[in-house]
Amino acid sequence: MSHPIEVGYLRWIVLLPLLGAIINGLFGAHIQKRLGRGAIAAIACTPVAIAFLISVSAFFQLLGLEPNQRFLLDDMSKWIHVGDLKLNLAFWVDPLSCTLILVVTGIGGLIHLYSVGYLDDEPSIWRYFAYLNLFTAAMLTLVLGDSLLVMFVGWEGVGLCSYALIGFWYKDLNNATAGSKAFIVNRIGDFGFVLGMFALYWCLDESGQGTLIFRELAERVHLISDQKVFGIAAATFITLAFFVGATGKSAQIPLYVWLPDAMAGPTPVSALIHAATMVTAGVYMIARMSFLFDMAPDTLAVIATIGTATAFLAATIGVAQWDIKKVLAYSTVSQLGFMFIAMGVGAYSAGIFHLFTHAFFKACLFLGSGSIIHALHHEQDMRNMGGLKKYMPITFLTFFVSTLAIAGIPPFAGFFSKDEILWKAWSSPHGSGWIWLFGSMAAGFTAFYMFRQVFLTFFGEYRGGQAHGHGHADHGHAADHAHAVHGGHGHGQEPHESSKVITGPLVLLALGAILTGFLNVPGALGGHHIFDNWLAPVLQAGSHGAASPAHGAAGAHGVASELAADVEHVAHSVAHDPFEYILMSVSVGIALFGIFLAWLVYEKKAISPERFSEVLGGVPYNLVYNKYYVDEVYQATLIRGTLALSRILSAFDRWIIDGAVNGAAAVVRVVARVEGAFDTYVVDGAVNLVGAVSLWAGNRMRAIQTGHIYSYLYAIVIGVAVVLFVRLI
């Protein structure tokens, strides 16, 4: 990699949202009281908007450079210099991180704007925006950090903000619990992350080359190829540890359980953090260190397997959910699984491309569901929805477009990105037919549950409001006069389209869901892999055969013309590997079948949904409906186990360790008492005895000791006589 171009402005991409967070966090309550909600919104949205503009200018500066020179660095200050470890607070932009910051600030900015409308009845909106800005700053730190440790600061920082925002409405303890769960599960991942970091540093240190800075790692990582950690290849151990980190942040098996619960947070948060940005951090991290993962084929196999399993299982769970956001949550888990499939087969660029398109259509879906939830006064159960397309045409249209995208229907964005992954899963040397098969089935389930959602919420009759005493007919009536809803039918329960600040972002994101796919049209469809080429200097692995350096050299103008050409070419594609067309057709066919089935069940009602739930005695349905009981298993084993261990140790501490201390003290006391008694009765007794004996003897002797000389003489005579007598004998 070449020398970086030093620029001084990248820091502001991070610092501006941070500044917004600090202002709103420390003074927000006063500002909101004095200047109103508008001021809070302005303080929160402006920095993100400016950060977006700076990101765009960074993008154009990169475009103006040779592909292999695309590397900007902002070295802000010293950070931690200890021994040979020299880390600075430094941010860098290369094509990979540039892609991510555009997503984070662009989509993030839209979601900030949307939040202004969505949380129009939230009393402490300053707190919300402080968290949201802090999240943005942390996410940008994660992406822009030039070393693993700076990345880790962002990595944990986004976890913290996620915790705070999931539990934003903390007065409901369930929300708080969901937040804690997210944090703790993420911490398990963080544990893997730091271990990977430590092992990597010291493995490089063996050759005196210890570092945590990405660009240096890329150059030096070959030094660890012969090393071992705990008896396995160092590269395998390190990448597995990092992958544990990725499973936590990106909600993969076995650490995905926090994400569905995270839906307790406000819906824009779900869109930004739990769909578009934070949860993709694991994917980004692997792509960031693709040079390392390429050295560990065993890890790649694990990643591909976990990704496939997650994509498939989460998609099956999505089929049985009733909460509109839970469906989207499992869908996110599943789509993240697709990204990991891409990582696992070494198709890093395809994974990042799916991350990119997914950010648009999933954010749009979440925000669309938020628009519905907001209109229905916090109703989230799809059984109480239906017929909403009449009331909320813009929400419907944008939601529908995004659903087509996620279902993989051409020419929407998800088709291009998902199909690229499935093709790579089949064709890559790390891939296999199994991955393709399960991936395609997951895609079929995705199409099914997404259209199930569309039919349940937007089609049919509106089923909400009955609880408020309105008959069905009443609603039919209301629906006929939808335009007069606000005119006052007296119940005001009819949903209505959301305000422009909500629909505006929806429209822009829906456009993204339609158009972003064209950024990476595969060669098979006459495209130029613009996106792959853009990332090629970073992700040098042999995963993008179609990428040619010549295309990468295209400047801003070149990209635009290529893009135009690609859009044109999709219609009449040039000849390519025929198998690619077959697979493409099959996967589209599976998706269409999923949609058709959803239509049959939920719109045509030709098949009762109960038919599904009764298959095989209801076992599969119950399994899926209860999310495979994974939460219950964790509760019964890990959580109970840890708590039990903590109680046992605490009792041990109290009764055994402290018992020993108190016991020792008691023994000393007993000894002291015995000694005291000994002292009183034996030692002192002996002394007293001597005294007493002397006294007694004295008294006795006093009789002898009369003071009369004759008696002494008498005694002496007797004594001498006795001695003499003894001698004589």
Partner: protein, 507 residues
């Protein structure tokens, strides 16, 4: 007039105590003001010390060396190097803060503040003393006020706790006394000079090093406190008044690890290498995990924080025995950071205890809705204790664990797993006390007062600033610790214990 600022920092509080003793018993405000005034100059001197301290040399600075008891070659020998200066700064800061945290004391005010200032003098003295006898005198002097401060101003079981603290520490003192005398007589000419004793380290026999090291270690381990000598701590903390808990956790615990670095490491380097694995690494990691698990089971808020202290001090023990720059620097940085973070935690426990008059974790709920600013401060302290990036403890814990991996990857793995446990008990506590629906009983509790905020602000600033930019402290300690590390490691080669002289590599 003494010109060494350290002498002033040590004895000004004592002067303050003397003044207080002359004041009338009921002049509460005056007594408190005098106490505050006596801690301000040391704090200012600490700032100037921080400014002028030479970061490029490992030698002692601000040295004063005058004969004290000449017939036994005992000297008033004080000075600071990179290791002790951080502790001097911390002591000056926490003493100042704790005067204000004690502002609500109503019982026997005169005695409390006089004893507190005496304690301040003793603590400062321990960190500055370079003569073993002087060190021992300060160490012992510290015991007395601490005993009374817990035993008189403490909670319901204060007498039990105070006696336990006193006896436990006395056991350590006796062991230390024996080693001190042994070292004194082992050398000819007899000396208590710690630097001189360190120079003669190569002459000490293997057996002597082993016994002396272990005896000293037990003395210091009680203070840290290291498993299994730790059970005095939760009791002492639970019973001690808030400010005394702050001093106890913030300063006194560090004397254990400081003593090991100041005495065991340079004077008995081969003993250090021989016992580092079992006594520092293994026990340190045990402290981390065991402390965290015990904390999780507590229902008394203050006891929970006490166990978290045990856990966090484990990082110091582990870090200092990693024999890497990162680990040992991380250990000393952790000593400083734990001082600020845990001080905040105890102050915050005090805030809620003063209002609700109990500390039962399950007896609160929804405090965030009632005392939002207080909850904000608690969140900062909790996240700092959890080692969240951007806050100070993150840097020290990461450095310790990073350093640990080099020679002890398995131990590092176990220690690092505690980050999950720590997050677990901290968030669980957060949830039970602060989140959820507000508890009806406490709807009228007033939010944190200006005085309480005043005690938290300097700590909060340090926690954030050192989290973002730890270099000021790292620069301060780096050179001295590097030299100390070299001394210990080089003693492994050619010394009487050369065969066991390298850190055990368990890779």
């Amino acid at each position: 007039m003494p010109t060494n600022p350290l002498t002033w920092m040590i004895f000004l509080p004592l002067l303050g105590a003397a003044v207080i003793l002359c004041l009338p018993r009921n002049a509460h405000q005056l007594i408190k003001s005098v106490a505050a005034a006596a801690t301000v100059p040391p704090l200012l001197m600490a700032f100037s010390l921080f400014q002028s301290f030479d970061r490029t040399i490992a030698d002692m600075q601000y040295v004063t060396k005058i004969p004290w008891i000449a017939s036994f070659n005992i000297e008033y020998f004080i000075g600071v190097d990179g290791i002790s200066i951080t502790m001097v700064l911390l002591t000056a800061l926490l003493s100042f803060i704790c005067i204000f945290a004690s502002w609500g004391i109503e019982k026997a005010v005169k005695g409390y503040f006089a004893l507190f200032l005496l304690l301040d003098t003793a603590m400062m003295g321990v960190f500055c003393a370079l003569d073993f006898f002087l060190f021992f005198v300060f160490w012992e002097v510290m015991l007395l006020p601490m005993y009374f401060l817990i035993g008189i101003w403490g909670g319901p079981r204060r007498e039990y706790a105070a006696i336990k603290f006193f006896l436990y520490t006395m056991v350590g003192s006796v062991l230390m006394l024996v080693v001190m005398l042994a070292l004194y007589f082992y050398n000819d000419p007899h000396t208590f000079d710690l630097l001189e004793l360190a120079k003669r380290a190569p002459t000490y026999s293997a057996t002597f090093q082993r016994f002396a090291w272990l005896a000293l270690f037990i003395g210091f381990a009680i203070k840290i406190p290291a498993f299994p000598f730790h059970t005095w701590l939760p009791d002492a903390h639970v019973e001690a008044p808030t400010a005394i808990s702050v001093i106890l956790a913030g300063v006194l615990l560090k004397m254990g690890t400081y003593g090991i670095l100041r005495i065991n490491y340079p004077i008995l380097p081969q003993g250090t290498l021989e016992f580092a694995y079992w006594c520092l690494v293994a026990l340190g990691v045990l402290n981390i995990v065991y402390g965290a698990l015990c904390a999780m089971a507590q229902t008394d808020f203050k006891k929970l924080i006490a166990y978290s202290s045990i856990s966090h001090m484990g990082y110091v023990m582990f870090g200092m025995a990693t024999f890497t720059s990162q680990g040992i620097d991380g250990a000393v940085l952790q000593m400083f950071n734990h001082g600020t973070v845990t001080a905040m935690l105890f102050l915050l426990v005090g805030v809620i205890y003063d209002r609700a008059h109990h500390r039962e974790i399950n007896g609160f709920g929804g405090i965030a809705g009632i005392m939002p600013f207080y909850t904000g401060w608690t969140a900062l302290a909790f996240f700092a204790a959890m080692g969240l990036p951007g806050l100070s403890a993150f840097i020290s814990e990461v450095l310790v664990l990073l350093g640990g991996w080099r020679y002890y990857p398995v131990m590092t793995l176990i220690a690092a797993s505690a980050v999950v446990l720590t997050a677990g008990y901290m968030l669980w506590t957060m949830q039970r006390i602060y989140l959820g629906a507000p508890n009806e009983k406490y709807l009228t509790l007033p939010d944190i007062s200006a005085r309480e905020v005043f005690t938290l602000v300097p700590l909060g600033i340090l926690v954030v600033v050192l989290g973002v930019y730890p270099q000021p402290i790292l620069d301060l300690i780096g050179v001295s610790l590097h030299k100390l590390n070299e001394v210990v490691l080089s003693a492994g080669q050619g010394g009487p214990l050369a065969s066991t002289g390298t850190p055990p590599i368990v890779r």
